[in-house]
Structure formats: C-alpha cells, structure tokens
Symmetry: C2
Subunit: 262 residues, 2 copies
Amino acid sequence: MLLIADNLTATNKAVQKAVVEKNPEPIRELVKNCVAAGAKAIDINPGPLGRNPEESMTFLVDAVQGVTNLPVLIDTPNPRAIEAALRCCKHKTIINGFSLEPAKLEAVLPLAKEYNADIIGYLLRPDGHVPADADERLQIALSIYEALCKAGIDRERLIIDPIVVPIAWQNGNFQNREVLTFIRQLPDLLAFPVRTVVGLSNLTATEAPRGKKLLIEIAYLCMLAEAGLSMVLMNALHKESVKAARTCRSLLDSGIFVWEEI
Amino acid sequence: MLLIADNLTATNKAVQKAVVEKNPEPIRELVKNCVAAGAKAIDINPGPLGRNPEESMTFLVDAVQGVTNLPVLIDTPNPRAIEAALRCCKHKTIINGFSLEPAKLEAVLPLAKEYNADIIGYLLRPDGHVPADADERLQIALSIYEALCKAGIDRERLIIDPIVVPIAWQNGNFQNREVLTFIRQLPDLLAFPVRTVVGLSNLTATEAPRGKKLLIEIAYLCMLAEAGLSMVLMNALHKESVKAARTCRSLLDSGIFVWEEI
C-alpha cells in the first residue's frame, strides 16, 4: 500500500498564503516533511482557482518538483489547470481524476491520453452522487473502464477510487464496509490487477477530537490494507497512521521476517 | 467482537505465586483491573497442574467469582481440572477447549455435554499440528462440528478457534491471512452463525520490543474484526489494543453515529 500525501491542499492556510504570495518556500518545506515521513507521491490540491488557473497550478507543481522527483497527483476538476500541470510535470503524473459526469468524460479523460498520464476514476454516478452499495460500485467501475478503453487509454493507466464516505453519514458505516467488499471483488470483475486508491481523510471529515479521528483512521486503514488497497491518500504527518500502514505491509507481505523492519 | 482477558495465566509470575500461596487477593485485583478495562469474560489458564489439579483450579475459579459474574473460560487440557472448575462455576462457563486429538475427544468433549457448557474447538490436526491453509481449516471445522453433534451437544455451544500463529514462523503471514479467509468463509460452510475466537498474543509470541508488538497486535486485530471474529482472547490491559477493538466495533456497527461512543 503506497502512501500519497494529501497535505498539499488549499484547505491548509499556509499553502493558501504561499500560493497568493507566490512564495515556494513553505510548499517546499511541507513536501520535504511529507517525503521524510514516508510519502511516495504528492497530491496537489490547489482548491478553487481564480481567473488564471494555469498560473497557480504551475507554481505549485514547480515548487514540488524543486524538492522531489516523486510522482505528483493533479487534484483539481479544472481542465485548464490539469493541462498546465501536465505540461510542466517532469516526473510521473497522475490525474486526480475523472468520473462518469459528462463534463469530466469530455474535458478530463482525453488529457490522460494526450499526456500519457495515469488517471484516477471516481466511482460516482453520472450525476455526481455516491453509489448505493458494492454492486453499484462494480457496475460503475465497469463503465469507467469502458470509457477509458474507448478513449484509447491503456488499462494500466487506470486507478479506481471507490469513494470512502464520512462515517458521520447516516449510512457511513455500511458504505465503508461496501468499499472493502468492492476492493476485494474488483480484480475478478476486470480480470486484471487494477490499482485502487481512497482518500482516507474523508472518513472523519466532520468535527471530532483529533485522538478519536486518528483511532478511526488507523482501524479503517488496516481493514483497507487487508482488502488489498494499492494506494492511500492521507495526511503523511499523522505518524501513528503511517506506522500502522507500515505494520500492515509487514503483516501482509509474503516475505519472511519482514515484520522486523517496522 | 467480545473481549476476553488472557491476563489470568500461570505464565504471569504474580498469578503463579498467588496459586502456590493460595492467596486470592492478587487474582481478585488483576480480574478487577481487566473488568474495568473492558473485558467481558475471563480466561483462567492455571498452567501445569501438580498432583492435585482440582485444588488449584477450584481456587482460581473461586477467586475470580469473588469479584465478577462474568463468564469464565477454563483454559487447561487436564480433564480433572476442567471438571473441578465446571463443578464450582456459578456463572456461564466455556471449556477452552478441545480438538480432534483422540484424548481430547474422549475426555474433554463429553464434559461440555454433562455440564451444559460452551466449548472452544481448536482447528488442529488429530496429531496436534496446525493445518496448512484455509481449506484444511474448513475441513477440520467440519470434523469438529460433526464430533460435537455426535457427542449430543447443541451446535450453539460451539466456538471455533482457527489458530493464529506467531508471525515469526516461516509462513506466519500466510497462515494468519488464511485465518482471516477462514473466518469469512466459515458461516457459509456450517450454515449457521457459529462463533469464532482467536488468541491474539500468539501473534507476537517471540521476543520483540513492546511497541512493535502492540502495533502488530492492533493492525491484525482490526483485520480480524472486519473479517467477522466474534471474540478475541487478549491482554485486557493493553489500553491501545482495547481502544482499537472498540473503534472497530464503532466502524463495523450498522447503527448510526456509534463512532461517537469510542
């Protein structure tokens, strides 16, 4: 299970300020800390983009590339910003992402083909709503896969996000158990080892004490790892969660004595 | 997932001393602490028993019953000690346990019938060895179930222990993943909601730093909970592990907002 840092987001006030002031230093510092903590890719979420989406996005990508060669995820729905990022990315790039919403199919999916990038497919209904259960997730995964093939993109480029929901939702626990079921069943459905990713912080996207949030994050992370999740988008500076992810790797690895490396 | 304290064991020097001196106070203190920590049953493991196994066992059961009405597990292979415990137990009792080893089938299993007790069936081969994988565990579970029915015991009395192995074993990780697979498949095999239990401390029954052991224990506990384990035998005084178990319950419960009770 590969760790992707979700720390570089405009919901972080320091990031927002750095973008406004075009000061790359705070970004570089943050990214260095995430890499030191064990991140193997950096998600760039610029938040709402103003009149010149290309400029903010290029600034962020350049700031990240100034300190690491790790893959970056371009986490914006704005096609102009995605394209600007793809143009200036020197290393492996993942578009985060597209769905069956018509606007995304038309404007985002073709960019993966044009720039030879990996792309995350969100399991959302064409109207943007979260599917009801594991079965509907499997149906949507198939549609996502077909859309990707139709766009002429290699299937190895696809990463599926089954959409973890906040546990505070009325059916949050049910939905998140269905996500685990889905992750277990997906490889059989598509008949190849398709990669999966979830945004772990969605789980606790409500007000709650930090200690409680961490407990929930860690417990669900272990369940996701065992279900076979390929990548997890999470706060790389949550030390306890990163340790838990590493412990899971040691428990699930088929090597011998790997747990001694925790 | 019900928490059973494994703290009352003769491998604990203080327990050993209390038994030798026939001093119930340290036992009572330990049991009170386990109950306060969240234990819902107490496993009594008297270790090797001398010439008078009945005496030590009765002493231990009486000491436990002096401070709690919780169910007790009689964790000894000695049939005389098991019978002595069953005679003096006033509350719910679980024999821990029997297997397909001929001596256990002959001497232990009939006691569950005679004293109307629950009984744990270990998934071990008739020669006492651990099965190779999930499939062999399913076959042995079926044999265990048949032996129980043949002995005239209600199937609701059965609790299956699929045998967690130390991760330090050469194929430890493989075996423990097979345990998870087995727990998921068992209800379909037996066609009723049979209960399951594992001894969590087996996982780290080798020398390792305490912090590392706890990480492993917590990660695997979350996986077991999600697989559907009914009961876990563990150190009730490992606060972090107990919290993790409680968090799993909140994540897996189908109720609404249960996570607020962590």
